[in-house]
Symmetry: C2
Subunit: 134 residues, 2 copies
Amino acid sequence: MSDGAERLLGEIRFGPDGLVPAIAQQHDTGEILMMAWMNRDAVRLSLAEGRACYWSRARQTLWRKGETSGQVQHLRELRLDCDGDALLLLVDQQGVACHTGRRSCFFRAWRGADWATIAEPEIDPEILYPREDR
Amino acid sequence: MSDGAERLLGEIRFGPDGLVPAIAQQHDTGEILMMAWMNRDAVRLSLAEGRACYWSRARQTLWRKGETSGQVQHLRELRLDCDGDALLLLVDQQGVACHTGRRSCFFRAWRGADWATIAEPEIDPEILYPREDR
């Protein structure tokens, strides 16, 4: 591993499963777009390619955000927390972050008695993920 | 469990360890303050008391944020993501969120060759955590 990669990854405390939680925030508005997981390769690739790449726990594979939907996250800055066990990605989200077609995945808010949907889809998921790709 | 608690907790997908990641964001500025973990009791208590309560993985106990340091997070809104496996807490942070005395725990940014410290402590940690409480 190069010195740079050593310094980059050496400060990140990956969990026993080799993953670290990563928060994606729109760099200029501060909106939280989503939370996902990264392994070492996902961190390296995100920096090398300048766009967010995560580890899909469901599919057990690297997941270049937007590779199917086109909704790419251009990486503006990578931040690390005090304990080294959480990442914050400041990104420029192209289109929407959520697979439901909403800008943010956090579209449900607790309203005292139930969860309320506080945002509607901006894009039809059928357009984001054409049936043959599902 | 009451109907309300059933609706609240029933939509949250806690991991095999009974925990779900929780992001704390300052409600008006959008600043990401920290990421921590919550179990069912932490979610219930946060809503009941109107202030963030987490599960400390290090100490294996409920952790009412600010109980030692006084740096309480007043809960303004609880949000849930599309998959139900991540929480977003919109809070009003009293003082600082980080145990280092910084406003946010995400004070390190990758600068191409190394991690740079991009924020300085606002409060001496010795004041936040008097020696006898450490």
